[in-house]
């Protein structure tokens, strides 16, 4: 048998332009403090939501963002007010970052009139047109097509905006995601697809569900470039956002960011999380916690424990205020049952 010719191992030259490898964001001390504050707000807010759920004040499904905070904080800190955000049902953190008051979100979780959706949406279905937050969608993957449509509207209106469309590793196996990728690249729509890969689609790990488990490659057959990012590092996330925004705003079409992250809690509050070991979760908490990481960076900048305590106290106060408000605010009036079904009367 003839010997195969020796192969060269040079990396193949890219056949089209690709975005540059993102760099860690060089944050000023103030920016870093703000990232810390935002991540902590989400963490404490979610912990409080978990408590209220345990008390029976929040019902139904409630998906917490604990562990994934660096992703949304890093990315959304780079947006301008022209840009829109859409996500699935693990949405509380993204909403807070859009500037929606914690009270409005928490009161929705408890199903009160003062909630952002007047108590009619619940944890999974929240929106704020004012803050350009377009949901809050309960059907896995729906936000990818809808977000592509938001990108379409930015381009159509020529408003210079970009849509940040989040979805999980589970949603990345939905068919409509690829239908959307195809149209987005075909029409060069300004969309950043963010795959928040927290390793588990409910109880199924990525490698049990995905033939190509390197999810950043999922756009290759549509010529959409993808980048894999450490989603536990807020500076890496922000650096990726800078690169992605530059790509999309230059009219080069959509881009995919795969954010490798981890959720500490179950898929929803009712998930016993038997599909992974306590040790696995603990190891991530110990080694990769995004807030602890940020804290170390701040300490290196000379921020003291006492300074951070002030921030912590302020956030606890804010979250407690939101919880008190959400517990005591009245439920929607019975007449609200029939409002908002249609906009017009016929």
């Amino acid at each position: 048998m003839a010997k195969a010719p020796a192969r060269t191992i040079d990396p193949p030259a890219p056949n089209r332009e690709r975005p540059a490898e993102p760099q860690l964001y060089q944050a000023s001390k103030d920016e870093l403090l703000e990232f810390y504050r935002q991540m902590l707000l989400i963490r404490r807010f979610e912990e409080k939501a978990g408590q209220l759920y345990g008390l029976g004040l929040i019902g139904g499904f409630c998906h917490l963002y604990i562990g994934q905070e660096a992703v949304a904080v890093g990315l959304q800190s780079a947006l301008s007010d022209k840009d829109s955000v859409i996500t699935g049902y693990r949405d509380h953190g993204h909403m807070l970052l859009c500037g929606i008051p914690p009270r409005d979100v928490m009161a929705e979780l408890t199903g009160r009139q003062a909630g952002i959706s007047k108590g009619k949406g619940g944890s999974m279905h929240m929106f704020s047109v004012e803050h350009k937050f377009y949901g809050g969608h309960g059907i896995v993957g729906a936000q990818v097509s809808l977000g592509t449509g938001l990108g379409f509207s930015h381009k159509y209106k020529g408003d210079g905006g970009v849509c940040l469309a989040y979805f999980g590793d589970g949603a990345s196996n939905q068919g409509q995601v690829y239908e959307s990728f195809n149209m987005a690249e075909l029409w060069k729509l300004p969309v950043i697809y963010v795959i928040e890969n927290n390793q588990y689609a409910m109880g199924t790990s990525v490698n049990r569900s995905s033939a190509e488990d390197q999810l950043y490659r999922r756009g290759e057959s549509f010529r959409i470039p993808g980048i894999q990012i450490d989603g536990m590092d807020v500076l890496a996330a922000r650096g990726a956002a800078e690169e992605a925004l530059a790509w999309v705003r230059a009219g080069k079409g959509p881009i995919i960011l795969e954010m490798k992250t981890y959720r500490y809690r179950g898929h929803s509050m009712s998930d016993p999380a038997k599909y992974r070991s306590r040790e696995e979760v603990q190891a991530v908490r110990d080694k990769s916690d995004p807030i602890e990481h940020c804290k170390k960076l701040l300490e290196a900048e000379g921020v003291t424990e006492a300074d951070l305590k002030v921030i912590d106290q302020e956030i606890r106060r804010q979250v407690n205020d939101a919880a008190d408000f959400a517990e005591t605010a009245p439920e929607p009036d019975a007449s609200e049952l029939y409002t908002d079904v249609l906009v017009e009367t016929y």
Partner: protein, 481 residues
């Protein structure tokens, strides 16, 4: 013997067409695959190829002739060694055909020729079209409203338009008025619409606003819905509503529920439109009425017009509505011509039924193509001395209960005729309304007459058995008189 070249049927619903251009002349030799002529249907211009070899003997239909019925001999082909003058069809037939050329679109066959027999059919040959159920629906849709829409100002000038033109005009008018309105769907732009409904829109509005999508219903229904959430006014065309089953998640979960789930903050002003219901001989997967499905969803508006005037006035209203609208058209009706008011801005109210024919003995409620059958049934009943009132619901959600109950109060008897399945239907809904709110006015049970409870079969005879017909409506009415 000379081979007769006949006007071909180039689509399932084609009845006649225009012989736009001959690409061969008498005496030319042709072989299989040569293009002989261009034929224009109401949907597209098609090339017509030779199947046999030979020499073109006589061209019997001049180019430019309109309304050439399917099956008409348009030329003869002489096989090798034959005489060109031999065996050509009688010149009488040819003359008759010439006479028909140039008639207006809805011209009735002349003389005593039965309507269902193709013109100039040489006697004794097999008809090119077997009679199918859809054929009956199509024939019945020549019936127009017998009383004018009271919404129209008196003395309004009317123009004849096909339903597809009326829909196109509605979209074009709204697109001229509002930059946010755009059309997207499969083949809507360069192909000019799979059923030619979007014809000319690309030329006028450009590819920013008339957008061809890949075959990706779920995806583009979501993109359209997202664009509506982002402040635009999309018109999403489904090639047929059968394909919208792939997209129903976005129509129901994303479009219909958003306003409610957001506490009234987030609008979703979008129109999903396209043909719905049975077409001609396209079988089970392409023949279903989704009216009852969408009409069961709070948060949606569902419109299913019958004639061209309503199609225009209601599509304009749908595009302007701040709510998501499912607009159900009917392929068999696209080529039908109706009178449409010549008004600058003809917009009809959503949610209002219309009395198509007045009567005092029984009410027949229907919508979409069923209205034609109901009017035909009413005509037959009139011959038997029964005066039926025919109501076209026009909007399926919100349903005009008041119009139905008012008519019931007058006639005390009611039948619902629906081109669709009876189980969990609009008809079932009307029956409930009559029981709950019109019980004291009932002199007989309200009956449903609809398609048979089977997937729609392909065979012409079975299709005919399965679909609603005016005879079935008449028989149902007779049961409660």
């Amino acid at each position: 013997m000379a081979i007769e070249i006949k006007m071909p049927a180039l689509s399932p619903t084609m009845e006649e067409g225009t012989l736009a251009k001959w690409l061969v002349k008498e005496g030319d030799t042709v072989k299989s695959g040569d293009i002989m002529a261009e034929i224009e249907t109401d949907k597209a211009t098609m090339e017509f190829e030779a199947v046999d070899e030979g020499t073109i003997g006589k061209i019997l239909i001049a180019e430019g002739s309109d309304n050439v019925k399917v099956g008409t001999v348009i030329a003869t082909l002489i096989a090798e060694g034959e005489d060109a003058s031999a065996e050509a069809p009688t010149t009488d037939d040819a003359a008759k055909i010439e006479e028909r050329a140039g008639d207006s679109a809805n011209a009735q066959p002349k003389e005593e020729q039965p309507a269902d027999q193709a013109a100039n059919q040489p006697e004794g040959t097999t008809p090119t079209k077997v009679e199918s159920g859809a054929q009956q629906l199509f024939e019945a849709s020549k019936h127009g409203a017998e009383i004018a829409d009271p919404a129209l100002p008196e003395g309004t000038e009317m123009v004849k338009l096909t339903l597809r033109e009326a829909l196109r005009d509605a979209m074009a008018e709204e697109m001229r008025q509002d930059d946010r309105v755009f059309v997207m769907g499969e083949e809507v732009a360069e192909y000019q619409g799979a059923y030619k409904v979007t014809q000319g829109l690309l030329e006028e509005f450009g590819d920013k606003r008339v957008i061809d999508t890949p075959i990706t219903e779920y995806g583009f229904a979501g993109v359209g819905t997202g664009a509506a959430m982002g402040g635009l006014r999309p018109i999403v065309e489904f090639m047929t509503f059968n394909f919208a089953m792939q997209a129903i998640d976005h129509i129901v979960n994303s479009a219909a529920k958003t306003n409610y789930m957001s506490g009234g903050q987030m609008r979703c002003p979008i129109v999903f439109r396209g043909p719905n219901g049975a077409a001609s001989r396209v079988g089970a997967q392409h023949s279903q009425n989704y009216g009852p499905w969408y009409a069961s969803v709070p948060g949606l508006i569902v419109i299913a017009p019958y004639d061209a005037a309503d199609a225009k006035g209601l599509l304009k209203a749908a595009i302007r509505s701040q709510d998501p609208v499912v607009f159900l058209e009917n392929e068999l009706l696209y080529g039908r011509t109706f009178e449409v008011p010549k008004l600058d801005d003809y917009v009809l109210p959503i949610g209002k039924a219309r009395i198509m024919r007045e009567g005092s003995d029984v009410t027949i409620v229907s919508y979409s193509i069923g209205v034609g059958l109901a009017l035909e049934a009413a005509e037959e009943l009139a011959k038997q001395g029964v005066e039926a009132e025919v109501i076209d619901l026009r909007t399926l959600r919100p349903l005009d209960k008041a119009a139905v109950l008012k008519s019931l109060k007058k006639t005390n008897r009611l039948v619902v005729a629906e081109e669709g399945w009876a189980t969990c239907s609009i008809a079932s809904e009307i029956v409930s309304i009559c029981m709950e709110e019109g019980f004291d006015d009932l002199d007989a049970p309200v009956l449903r007459v609809a398609n048979e409870d089977v997937p729609l079969p392909y065979a012409a005879n079975l299709e005919k058995l399965a679909l609603l017909s005016s005879a079935k409506i008449v028989a149902t009415v007779q049961k409660i008189l």
